[in-house]
Amino acid sequence: MSALLEARGLSAGYGQAHVLHGVDLTIEPGQVVVVLGANGAGKTTLMRSLAGLLPYDGELRVDGETVGAVRPDQMVARGVSLVPQGRGTLTALSVTDNLRTGAVGRRDASGVQEDIDRWFTTFPRLAERRHQVAGTLSGGEQQMLAIARALMSRPRLLLCDEISLGLAPVIVQGLFETIRGINEEMGTALLLVEQNAALAMGIASYVYLLEVGRVVQSGAAESFAQSDSIRRVYLGY
């Protein structure tokens, strides 16, 4: 059986600079994978390429099938959904409309409504604010909304780019418990880019360490936790 998502020799860059230099990465169905790396290592660039937002060189396979130049909507159709860094909610739309927008690719109206209710149950704070415009939500609420919206397409792989960014520890804790639950209940694979390494490693089974646009080390999460790599990246000694 082929991997859910597989990248071979992925290179990309944008704006003024080349950032990724040939990254190899594999995600199996239902697996939780974390990508660690210092700022500027290319984590966000990697996520954006995988989501179809950035043109790339190299090969990208979903379910063993090579995808060429892709757009984000095509990746969503293949079951890969991104929660972008900095939330990326549709700020002018209401909370409910944000969730409905997340399901535009789906044809089952009743299933969509079920899912909306489901995420409102998971995130009661969103339910309270369902008619509010997303731009007026707090940072943590927007992050919940971004996750729920990405899940509305029923992805098989959820790409989470720094979902803990700028959030208080207690909220981050809650978010991680939620996505771990989603992974366990629905079998949604997760690819996490996270500066909060300890937290991410707590739920991941496999780790990639990115340095200056290259994978310098990868392996099972348990072996990583003891290695010096984390210490080196995050504490510098």
Partner: protein, 299 residues
């Protein structure tokens, strides 16, 4: 009082037309953050088609079907094949392509149908007594028709935007194209549809305005000033706001009618300049117009 009413009515009539053109511009701007400078010339072309069909015995109302359809197709195709490939490059490139379409379509209409003015039939025939007397002022039926058309277009547009799946996607793209694409929306298709819709609204506006506004005939240079009035209206209201386009269009129409009527100092010939000065002032104070959404500058 009668004179005031008369001026108010003519201002509302003209304003409704400006508002409609402004709406077309707003629909385009909301999706692709561009001002379509060729919007007026697209409408001019489809109105020529409509005129040409009436010359072949078609009923004027019936000609609107192919004319509006053509408006949709032309604008959608232009977006896909001429505008989108250069959008990423810079604003100048988009502007130049729009200006090329502007000259090209105008020339094409002249090439096919000649540069003499055409008598374009009224959608609502009017005679000497086709008006309601309003305390001495005359409210002609075609004025009512123009205002009603605006109400209808705004109603339909709001319905589409707020009550349909397509509208949800259009609003999502207007808010943030990248986030919208991450939701699985085919952003390119929404661009095309938005441009097409704008083409329909513009074509309809042109068919309505030609007999009503001076010079009352269909001529090659006619749409350019209308486009400028429409743009002024759209800018006044904020380029991304439907409500703004309507308020902007109506206040521009009424304001100009009053200036032309009462402001003898300015005189008729300079009304466009006055309108544009107002715009520069408004943009200086509120760079995003009266109802436009604010954008934060970030580094």
């Amino acid at each position: 009082m009668d004179i005031f009413l008369t001026r108010l009515i003519s201002g509302m009539t003209a304003g409704s037309v400006y508002a409609m053109i402004a709406l077309a511009l707003v629909v385009v701007f909301r999706s692709s953050a561009t001002i379509n400078f060729a919007q007026g010339e697209f409408a001019l072309f489809t109105t020529y088609v409509s005129w040409w069909l009436t010359q072949h015995g078609w009923n004027i109302w019936l000609t609107l079907v192919p004319a509006l359809g053509l408006g949709f197709v032309m604008c959608a195709v232009a977006e896909r094949f001429l505008i989108r490939p250069v959008r990423k490059r810079d604003e100048t490139a988009v502007l130049i392509v729009a200006l090329a379409l502007f000259t090209g379509l105008n020339g094409l209409a002249g090439w096919i149908w000649g540069s003499d003015d055409k008598v374009y039939p009224r959608l609502v025939p009017i005679g000497d007594d086709s008006f309601l007397a309003l305390g001495g002022a005359r409210l002609y039926y075609d004025s009512i028709f123009v205002v009603l058309s605006l109400v209808l277009v705004v109603g339909a547009l709001s319905l589409v935007l707020n009550k349909t799946g397509l509208g949800l996607q259009m609003r999502a793209v207007a808010t943030n194209p990248e986030s919208a694409s991450l939701c699985g929306i085919k952003v390119g298709r929404i661009f095309m549809i938005s441009w097409g819709l704008a083409g329909v609204i513009g074509s309809l506006a042109a068919a309505i305005l030609v007999p009503v506004l001076p010079p009352g005939q269909l001529g090659l240079p006619g749409m350019f000033h209308m486009l400028i009035f429409g743009t002024v209206a759209a800018l006044l209201g904020g380029l991304d706001s439907v409500k703004g386009a309507v308020v902007g269009g109506l206040s521009l129409g009424v304001g100009l009618a009053m200036i032309n009527g009462y402001g003898s100092f300015f005189g008729g010939s300079i009304s466009l300049t006055v309108a544009l000065v107002v715009i520069v002032v408004v943009l200086g104070l509120k760079p995003n117009g009266l109802f436009g959404s604010r954008r934060l500058e970030r580094v």
